[in-house]
């Protein structure tokens, strides 16, 4: 196993190079862009969840001074290609797929569905125009619940599918499911629900599209997690060759999975720019963001758990239904990941899993930080429910069931080896940091005084990137590409397809490259956000630390080799005898021979060398993930629940995390805390609510409540000593873990606090009113 060498920048909380512009108000977000002649778009949206569109009358809007055009669904249908979301088209399995247009034509499928786009000289005028567009609807029965969607009598959202089931029923079995359940001492059954909630980045979606008729090129200034996926989407739906589409991006105000690819509205704006021959800007407002950009996580699980009398979790049999909303994006892809990840770091010997994905008249189910997170919620909830039944402590049942770290590694029943997983160590670290016996004593004392304290634990692993499978040719996340060049001024320049939106890649990748190449941090530049310049890539799935970090490390090493080969022509020495130290190329150990890297770059560009000398100081690098490895950890929350008001106060929150070698601890801790905060919000505050007619109830921040500085406690973080697997690259992803593990941690703590009332919790959303209901119902029962 490799040792992680002590290095200068990698592993230090280097101050972010993004911060001087961001803190000075000099960031460049999509709404900050103004192009000459730019028009502004606003959308007319359906007030109904499910209806036929009989007529759209835009005459009055078109007559309004300042309105340049109103494009209806039919107008855009004539100039675009129907199809699916680019991510869905790329990743969904076989079978019939829904066909739909950018704007609704024959029918609307959720409250907020775009029906027409008004383009005007200002956003104010575009919104005025929207008020004047008359749409004649004929209501259809709304399909609001998954249960109704499963009913063959429900009216299909998409005529070509015939019903509302888009992911067909599918069952898999791993291990001897029937045998394990037959032999178990007991079989427990639960139904566990996860509620719909959503990303809510502080900046919503938006773009400025600019079509140049002369060259036939479309430029899209986008807020996106991947300029290349956006480019694919625009090319596909507008029918333009991909090489005539350029997507550029500046600073992005958060995303958490929302801004992958190209949304229907953004593509409609691009089509409008082409139709009108002028740049068009659209930036969604908050109500559009909440109602129409997409939501996540509405899933239900029928769980059977086979367990031994002394607490061995032997098998699970799970039937999942996922409500993917109206226009499928991500929902059909989630069950497969949940199936693979359900065993977690445990010795589970059998898993039966079946899933059904349905389409409903609600906003689309989209990716949200840790899209498969419900596997951890279900498993960690089940462990606590079983522990309660068996009279076991939550720590004890977990330690009892965690797979041992063996060589060769224990393999999850779903197939992946648990190489280097430190789940057990993370629980032991929690038990060191939190004196659980002392807490139990205090809990008992406080209960006697009518105060209800609880402790919750949960454990997870995340395939970030995941283990390399023995037979696999490429790594677990495919390939990551990077171009690196030594610029004429001696700056090591990295071109990456990562599209940072808070992850600090311009700092972290520069740290790695600076160390590996041998220049000061300030002498590295990370170029992002231009599909004409950067290689294919996507920021998502916690891939950047390992995959892009690895590409930066190996790429800088390759570039350094090339620079030294050339420098050997300047310094009378062989390349093997040269090194780069602090931005100087020199004979190993001989500072007197030093030439600045910038001088080497200048010489290479001078044109004074013959064809036999390679002066092209540029490399194409790629990385396949190396030996890979898991991220993971355990969290612990201590809460107090006020049984009179239902309010939950988080007294203490401890995270024991292993994300491999840390590139920048402050950045890592920011990712962990941010994820936990979203998990706390999901449990205590956030819910994307629809009424029975499919009207959206959470379209403002007065209705969709986000956690504030008073809701999130100080979070203690313990970094575990990782088990290095790769010779060079042991950085692992940490973006999603906090959001995956915080909800079960917190719900487990709340249930523990409510033990005296006999409360059992089978859901994730626990605002005060719901907690009071749970107490009352438990009393009644």
């Amino acid at each position: 196993m490799a040792q992680i060498a002590a290095q200068r920048y990698t592993g230090a909380s280097v101050k972010r190079s993004e911060d001087p512009r961001i803190l000075a108000g000099r960031g460049r977000y999509i709404d900050d862009l103004k192009l000459p002649g730019m028009l502004h778009a606003a959308f007319v949206r359906s007030p109904l969840a499910h209806a036929r569109v009989l007529a759209v009358d835009a005459a009055a809007a078109r007559a309004l001074p300042g309105v340049v055009a109103v494009l209806t669904g039919a107008d855009l249908e004539a100039v675009t290609i129907p199809g699916q979301d680019p991510l869905f088209a790329m990743m969904a399995g076989p079978g019939p797929k829904p066909e739909y247009t950018l704007l609704a034509t024959d029918k609307v499928r959720f409250a907020g569905d775009p029906v027409a786009v008004v383009v005007a000289e200002s956003r104010y005028l575009a919104e005025d125009g929207c008020e004047l567009v008359e749409v004649d609807y004929e209501g259809l029965p709304p399909v609001v619940s998954a249960a109704f969607a499963l009913d063959p009598a429900s009216p299909p959202l998409f005529a070509n599918l015939g019903d509302n089931i888009i992911g067909p029923h599918k069952r898999s079995e791993f291990g001897d499911v029937a045998g394990v359940f037959a032999a178990a001492d007991r079989v427990a059954e639960f139904r566990i629900d996860v509620h719909r909630h959503q990303n809510v980045p502080m900046e919503g979606r938006g773009c400025v599209a600019s079509y140049d008729a002369g060259s036939g090129t479309l430029t899209v200034h986008a807020a996106t997690q991947s300029v290349h996926v956006t480019r694919m989407g625009a090319a596909m739906r507008l029918g333009i060759d991909a090489d005539k589409v350029r997507v550029v991006a500046g600073d992005i105000g958060g995303s958490f999975g929302l801004k992958i690819g190209a949304s229907r509205e953004e593509l409609a704006v691009a089509a409008a720019s082409r139709a009108l021959g002028r740049p068009v800007k659209w930036v969604e407002d908050r109500s559009e963001n909440l109602a129409a950009s997409g939501q996540a996580r509405e899933e239900s699980f029928e769980v059977r758990a086979a367990v031994s009398a002394d607490g061995d979790l032997l098998g699970l049999d799970v039937a999942m239904v996922i409500d993917t909303g109206a226009y499928p994006v991500m929902g059909t892809m989630v069950p497969g990941i949940i199936e693979m990840m359900l065993p977690g770091p445990y010795k589970l010997a059998a898993l039966g899993f079946e899933s059904t994905a349905v389409t409903t008249n609600k906003a689309s189910y989209i990716a949200y930080r840790g899209p498969w997170a419900s596997e951890t919620f279900v498993r960690e909830r089940v462990l606590d429910l079983l522990a309660k039944d068996l009279g076991l402590d939550p720590l004890e049942i977990r330690l009892r069931n965690i797979a041992p770290r063996t060589d060769p590694p224990f393999t999850m029943i779903t197939g992946r080896p648990l190489a280097g997983v430190t789940a057990k160590e993370s629980l032991e670290r929690i038990a060191e940091v939190v004196d659980i016996p002392a807490f139990r004593r205090r809990q008992a004392e406080e209960r006697a005084r009518g105060r209800y304290l609880g402790i919750g634990l949960a454990t997870f692993i995340e395939a970030a990137p995941g283990p390399r499978s023995p037979e696999g040719r490429s790594g677990p996340m495919g390939m990551e590409f990077m171009r690196l060049a030594l610029a004429g001024d001696g700056v090591v320049t990295l071109f990456t397809g990562q599209m940072p939106h808070g992850q600090s890649h311009q700092t972290t990748l520069a740290q790695i490259a600076a160390d590996e190449f041998g220049v000061p941090f300030e002498q590295v530049r990370v170029v992002v956000g231009d599909s004409d310049v950067v290689p294919f890539g996507l920021t998502g799935g916690s891939r950047s630390a390992t995959m892009t970090g690895g590409a930066a490390l190996h790429g800088a090493r390759q570039l350094k080799g090339k620079v030294l080969d050339f420098a050997a022509h300047l310094i009378e020495a062989s390349a093997q005898d040269l090194e780069i130290v602090d931005g100087q190329v020199q004979v190993r150990g001989d500072p007197d021979s030093a030439i600045p890297v910038a001088e080497v770059a200048r010489q290479a560009a001078s044109g004074e060398f013959g064809a036999d000398v390679d002066t092209n100081l540029e490399v194409e690098a790629s990385f396949d993930g190396g030996e890979g490895g898991w991220s993971g950890g355990s969290h612990c929350a201590i809460v107090e629940v006020d049984a009179e008001t239902g309010l939950v106060r988080i007294e203490r929150y401890v995270a024991a995390e292993d994300c491999g070698a840390l590139i920048n601890p402050a950045v890592v801790e920011g990712q962990i805390r941010g994820g936990i905060a979203q998990g706390i919000g999901a449990v205590l505050l956030e819910r994307s609510a629809y009424d029975q007619d499919g009207n959206y109830q959470s379209a403002t921040f007065m209705d969709y409540l986000l956690p504030t500085a008073c809701d999130i406690p100080r979070i203690e973080i313990e970094h575990l000593q990782t088990v290095p697997l790769d010779a060079d690259v042991n950085f692992r992803g940490v973006g999603e873990g906090g959001m995956i593990i915080a909800p079960p941690t917190l719900v487990n703590a709340i249930e523990d606090a409510l033990t005296p009332f006999g409360v059992r919790i089978y859901e994730q959303h626990l605002p005060p009113a719901r907690i009071l209901e749970l107490i009352d119902t438990a009393d009644a029962g």
């Binding site: 909380s13 961001i22 803190l23 000075a24 108000g25 960031g27 941010g674 986000l706």
Partner: protein, 155 residues
């Protein structure tokens, strides 16, 4: 309507529609795009600017209501791009990630610290609880404000 507003120390005369918000006036008419619009209904605080010494939500104020007032935006705190002491403390504390909420937090914290230089953690949390950050979990922001306050006390 014709208005004159002092923005970051300079008098700015403009003709604006009565319905135009102060946020849109700053961003669109004056090209001061450091002020961000996050919710347009006064909850998230991203658009916070200082008007006559008080932190206000520029999405809830009309430009015409600011006529004759002194407005300070994030650009006014760092006139030459050099960070002021609060911004520097926030950088040192890795306070932010995506940066969209940042100008609002900086302006809110700046106004609060001026009035409460000795504030402790809980007071700072409460003072910033009207600003929403979706990335950080707030601790790094609170730490940045505490650091700025400590540095200012220690001179």
């Amino acid at each position: 309507m014709d208005i004159t507003v002092s923005v970051n120390g300079a008098a700015r005369a403009a003709s604006v529609e009565a319905r135009k918000t102060l946020a849109d006036f700053l961003r669109e008419d004056l090209d001061l795009t450091g002020t961000h619009v996050g919710c347009e209904h006064g909850v998230c605080g991203a658009c916070t600017v200082i008007v006559d010494g008080r932190a206000v939500r520029s999405c809830l104020m009309l430009a015409v209501q600011a006529a004759g007032s002194e407005v300070t935006t994030i650009e006014g705190l760092a006139p030459d791009g050099a960070l002021g002491p609060l911004q520097q403390a926030m950088r040192d504390s890795h306070s932010f990630q995506c940066g969209f909420c940042t100008p609002g937090f900086v302006m809110q914290a700046s106004a609060f610290l001026r009035a409460h230089p000795d504030a402790g953690e809980q007071e700072i949390r409460e003072a910033l609880s009207g600003n929403i950050c979706r990335c950080t979990g707030y601790q790094s922001i609170i730490d940045g404000v505490l650091l700025a306050a400590r540095r200012s006390r220690e001179g």
